[in-house]
């Protein structure tokens, strides 16, 4: 049975179709976004502690960082033994 390769083990090459340039007048490299924008377009790689639910943790980050909305990538259930 052929095993599937994990997506993080796939190597990709970049092939050029046409040469092009980008105008520095517009947009901005992601790492150089001004602070407000940087936060707005940001992701936090958070170490979820045991206890609260993913949702509760997300709500906590929302309050601390003072943003209007947050989401999270993939629920990690709360510490199960506490909730039966």
């Amino acid at each position: 049975m052929p095993r599937s390769v994990a997506p993080w083990m796939v190597e990709r090459k970049l092939l050029v179709k046409t040469e092009g340039e980008t105008d520095p007048k517009y947009g901005c490299r992601p790492e150089e976004r001004p602070a407000k924008e940087y936060i707005k377009f940001g992701v936090i790689n958070l170490d979820k502690p045991a206890g609260p639910t993913s949702h509760e943790v997300a709500a906590w980050v929302k309050r601390i960082v003072g943003v209007e909305n947050v989401g999270h990538g993939g629920t990690l259930e709360a510490f199960y033994t506490l909730r039966g």
Partner: protein, 255 residues
């Protein structure tokens, strides 16, 4: 349960879907309900390195219908009495609690998940930029007080990082704003393209500055797209960049 939980702020919430679909890696402690030899446990874990069938557990956030999930690898790490430690790389949406239960069934003695730590969610891993809740609060205060933006970069990463594993198509500046308005990507806008794209696969459309413009569904393979002179290359599914970031370069009637 602990570990890697990417939190998307405001605009970056638009990439959550890509993260949910992306692969995960966990380190898990499984508790056996009876005795089993290490060799037997190793052999049974290996059997699960495959496409498996799973019905989501009772307490689940999705519809409980049988579905398939890919297990990329299971690495047996350690065994102490009835506690088995292993690492598993799997497709998004795999229930490890269920996996432990099923491994227990095949072993015959039964088993349950004792502890779980996620070590990867898509491109986000433990060893790279993982921050605790305390660190978030601390760095945020430090940034507020000092105004030093370098501090922000200690605990927040650009949303583009979340798309690191999604194959990319880089486009011309002149094609960007049309896509921000919902147009599909056509061949003349394409500058470069990553290998491994097939028709129907999810791609990320990027600018040459490395900014994410949109998530899209490829309409052809990498090789085909390289040879295309006109026609739709990718259908836009989710626009990520605000309109007007790049100048509008299309004429009325063309859209």
């Amino acid at each position: 349960m602990t570990g890697v939980l990417p939190i998307t702020l405001e605009e970056s919430r638009k990439i959550v879907q890509a993260l949910l679909l992306s692969g995960k890696e966990y380190v898990c402690v499984m508790k056996l309900h009876g005795d089993a030899s290490e060799n037997r446990v190793r052999a049974v874990l290996e059997e699960f390195e495959d496409t498996i069938y799973q019905r989501p557990p009772l307490r689940a956030s999705v519809k409980r219908q049988l579905r398939t999930r890919k297990i990329y690898y299971i690495d047996f790490l350690e065994m102490d009495g009835r506690n088995v430690l292993f690492k598993v790389g799997c497709e998004g949406g795999t229930y490890i609690r269920k996996l432990c239960h099923d491994v227990g069934e095949v072993l015959g003695c039964g088993a349950h998940m004792q502890e779980l730590r996620r070590t990867r969610a898509g491109p986000f891993i433990e060893e790279e930029g993982l921050v605790t809740m305390h660190e978030v609060a601390y760095w945020f205060m430090q940034w507020k007080e000092s105004g030093d933006d370098a501090i922000l970069r200690k605990f927040i990463q650009p949303m583009e990082k979340a798309l690191a594993l999604v194959p990319k198509i880089y486009i011309r500046d002149s094609a960007v704003d049309a896509i921000c308005h919902g147009a599909n990507l056509t061949a003349p806008g394409v500058l470069s393209i990553e290998t491994g794209i097939t028709a129907g696969s999810m791609v990320a459309i990027f600018t040459l500055k490395g900014e994410a413009v949109a998530l899209a569904e490829a309409q052809a393979s990498t090789e085909e797209i390289l040879g295309m002179e006109h026609g739709v290359v990718a259908r836009v599914k989710r626009v990520l960049m605000p309109r007007g970031t790049y100048p509008k370069c299309w004429k009325r009637g063309e859209i």
